[in-house]
């Protein structure tokens, strides 16, 4: 392969050779409802120091725009995701990389930053230019500083939460203009490798679509004395069986993406395609073609899954036609889906435009184990929460959270922040309810379409769920990318983060034509009333001769000429 030789040559010319590495993978997991879940991950590792005095000037695989953002704003970790659709945990299981609907951005800054809020504001503006999204709408009214959730996913000895900022824009639309700059960040762009499959016309014609960028520091080796920067770009999408217009249950790369794979990215050190065949050990449920002999097992999301692997760096994978079009054909339709151990729902109850109630339900489906759950709720200021009505009940009984952190909102300045650590009893539903009152906004604060409603961002539920198999705590062993996103500290449980639905709440909307009506009415009353009064007071009457006929006028003219008084 030409790539390692190239790197060696570079190293000869320069004293120090920053080592960077690019890997790409695609995991395809057939779901029980007939849909199919595709998860792309592109990871660039770079052994460099952005916080150095002399700026880094030579970028190879790592995109320069993100590198400059990291060094200019002293970012320790950056996670940004754009999602369209809502992940249905009960039908689809757990995603590899969770994300809430809309846009979500959370950033850990270095402790050298003095004014975190100003840096945060500038960072959101710069990111809105990079990703063509309206991230500049992130300001103090939708930014919160969680006190216990969102611990750094990368290396971190210090976790002072004053350097963390979290914001979400549930209304944000995701479309091709967000995918275009995202694709340009990849080393091969969308020209080679797995990224050729990312065509917007097929990708956005799906039930769920999410693209994300995650930047963090990771350990370089098992000793973990040096760190390197990791950039992960992920795309998760779920394609609907009936939406794509097919009668029988059969999926192929061409049907999903309208493209096939022809080569791996030449800059990638590994390029793999994984198909989840755990439910199909003997091939009785579905058939995979072209067949592959490579198998791999990985422990992910608390379960040991088996995967068929296609290595795209090998020429033999593409066969004689030089293209890989994977075909999955179903033979039978049985099989029970494993119920996810944790899932959550949220809805607004109540009637009218005055008050309401937010209900969050968390389901623990484990038969005998209970586990702790950290619930983060960020509610905009115009829904005035009454925290004295907050109640947490499990199985009908009161369940007192072991930790509550509440920051009340300030009108037009900051939102409510509610964080609670709740222990969910086994096999139960826990319900968290809080009443609120809707505020009347000033008439200039309404968006152009106020009758659509106002969005409340998703609740974030972070939890350590007990796992059925022993998790792998050795973080530096060579593992597929999808199993190494969340760091694992203990073997008996795995970390999971789920997002509830965003809420759409109607606020009392004034009649926007009223200022115009008032002006018209007032002006009419003033004109008619004052005008007629003025006329009555100041009008004087004069007697005027009626206009004489034509003959009389001519006679008058002649008389005037003669000097005789007129008729």
């Amino acid at each position: 392969m030409a790539e390692p030789k190239f790197r060696v040559c570079l190293c000869m010319f320069w004293a120090v050779c920053p080592k960077d590495d690019f890997q790409e993978e695609l995991v395809i997991r057939p779901l029980h409802s007939g849909d199919i879940y595709a998860s792309f991950q592109f990871r660039t590792l770079w052994d460099t120091d952005f916080m150095r005095e002399n700026k880094v000037s030579h970028y190879r695989l790592f995109p320069k725009s993100l590198g400059q953002v990291i060094s200019k704003f002293s970012v320790r970790e950056l996670h940004i995701s754009f999602t369209q659709g809502y992940w249905r945990t009960m039908q689809w299981g757990q995603p590899f990389i969770p994300s809430p609907p809309g846009a979500e951005l959370w950033v850990w800054f270095q402790d050298s930053v003095t004014d975190v809020d100003a840096t945060w504001k500038e960072l959101t503006n710069v990111l809105s230019g990079i990703f063509c999204a309206s991230l500049n709408f992130i300001d103090s009214t939708n930014t919160v500083q969680p006190s216990a959730s969102f611990k750094p996913l990368g290396i971190g000895n210090v976790t002072d939460h004053s350097f963390l900022r979290y914001a979400t824009l549930p209304r944000e639309i995701v479309c091709t203009e967000n995918l275009t700059p995202w694709k340009k960040l990849l080393p091969c762009g969308s020209k080679a490798g797995l990224a050729v499959l990312l065509k917007s016309e097929k990708l956005f014609h799906s039930s769920f679509h999410s693209q994300a960028v995650h930047i963090r520091s990771v350990c370089q080796d098992w000793q973990c004395k040096t760190t390197s920067w990791e950039l992960r770009q992920t795309v998760n999408s779920v394609f609907d069986l009936h939406n794509s217009g097919q009668a029988k249950r059969e999926w192929s790369l061409f049907k999903m993406f309208s493209r096939t794979l022809t080569e791996a990215c030449p800059l990638a050190s590994s390029s793999k395609l994984y198909i989840d065949i755990t439910d199909n050990p003997q091939g009785e449920q579905f058939e995979l073609s072209p067949a592959t002999s490579l198998l791999s097992q990985a422990v992910v999301l608390g379960d040991r899954r088996t995967f068929s692997v296609y290595d795209l760096t090998q020429e033999t994978t593409f066969g004689s036609v030089r293209s890989l079009n994977l075909l999955i054909r179903w033979k039978s339709n049985e099989g029970e889906m494993l119920r996810p151990l944790l899932h959550a729902e949220r809805y607004v109850a109540g009637y009218g435009l005055q008050t309401g109630e937010i209900h969050t339900l968390m389901y623990n489906n484990h038969p005998y184990r209970s586990f702790p759950v950290l619930l983060l709720d960020s509610v905009p200021w115009y829904l005035r929460l009454y925290i004295h009505t907050l109640s947490v009940t499990s199985k009908g009984k009161d369940n007192k959270p072991s930790y509550i952190h509440y920051e009340p909102s300030k009108d037009r300045v900051k939102p409510h922040l509610l964080e609670m650590l709740i222990q969910l009893p086994p096999n139960s539903v826990t319900e968290v309810t809080v009443q609120f009152e809707r505020a009347l906004l000033k008439w200039t604060e309404y968006p152009p379409d106020p009758n659509h409603g106002f969005y409340v961002g998703s609740s974030v539920i972070s939890s350590l769920v007990p796992s059925t198999v022993a998790m792998d705590t050795n973080s530096t062993r060579e593992r597929p990318l999808f199993s190494s996103f969340f760091p694992c500290k203990e073997e008996s449980s795995y970390f999971v983060r789920i997002y509830t639905e965003p809420l759409l709440v109607n606020l009392p909307t004034p009649d926007f034509s009223m200022p115009y009506n008032v002006i018209c009415l007032t002006c009419t009353v003033v004109a008619v009333g004052y005008g007629s009064l003025y006329n009555l007071l100041t009008r004087s009457f004069q007697i005027e001769e009626p206009n004489p006929g034509l003959a009389k006028r001519i006679a008058n003219v002649i008389r005037k000429m003669r000097g005789v008084p007129p008729l």
């Binding site: 000895n157 091709t176 203009e177 917007s200 016309e201 702790p372 930790y403 379409d449 350590l464 500290k489």
Partner: protein
Amino acid sequence: MLALLMLNILAYMTPNPDKTQIIIHLLSVISQNSAGQFFSSGHTNNWAVLVCTSRFWFNYRHVANTLSVYRSVKRLGIPDSHIVLMLADDMACNHRNPKPATVFSHKNMELNVYGDDVEVDYRGYEVTVENFLRVLTGRLPPSTPRSKRLLSDDRSNILIYLTGHGGNGFLKFQDSEEISNVELADAFEQMWQKRRYNELLFIIDTCQGASMYERFYSPNIMALASSQVGEDSLSHQPDLAIGVHLMDRYTFYMLEFLEDIHPASKTNMNDLFKVCPKSQCVSTPGHRTDLFLRDPGSVLITDFFGSVRKVELTMDAINLTDPIKQMEENPVNGEEQKEVYSYADQLPVSEIIHQKPKQKDWHPPDGFILGLWTLILLVFFKTYGIKHLKHIF
């Protein structure tokens, strides 16, 4: 042509020895003129500001209008970094769109003007009158990214295209505010005084569009509109699968006209004025050229829609300096004492439970509290007199 005729006449009239000299002299004059004409437009870069001001699904055609102009402008060479595209609503990924990530301009879904490589700079709620005027005049907050700025200079030719719903003297932005023709004229005057453009082409496709350019008073502006005052601009054709009208007539015929233009074509503005006559458009397109210094017949379409770069040939040689040497980094092996890093615990339950509440920063008392205390103190001293002060302090 006239010069050649003169040349022929002179050739017959003068005696032989001088003839060749006169011919050479005249030929050089002619070649200088054509070279001069080649450089006569005076601009060095091109910008485009394309705005769609309408929201809601039934205004699909306005987004399609703007995207078709965007597509032509990109095809003729203006890069994304020189285009400020403002779309007030998202039609491509709208949930009512039966074909997501597409915006069609012709029925039967022939032409997808959205494409695969689109960069929208201002979208959704960001398209407001204030943002539009700030983009034009350059008065943006310092943290605005480059892709959202119009970084033109005094040698830039700018194309400004507006579409939406309009009336006599105003253009409606997103159903909640409007921009008047006086405001627009003043913004262009600000641009002229700050030397932000060399020449400006203003195209508007709304009802009564001609009213929007009536008030312009800055030099070097050429304006086109799709209808006169008192007339409505009509839409072209609906698509039964998508369910809405796909484009407006004026922009539809303008797109057909622009599809024939390529970066080297010599079509001039007079042809653009003839686009969409009353028989096709039902409304009467108008144009205004009195503020423009050059003759419209000598203005190429690519002067505004394309980004034709001027090439200057030079015979000078330039010596390249030595390649930059990479900084020598100190060998890392010397430092052995390095702290061992570790990943943070994602949900440290015991730590969270015993977390101390963070010390809130002390803020000075609010105005209300200060006023209340002042009132209490005043009442106290009024009642009991100032001589009691020494008993308190």
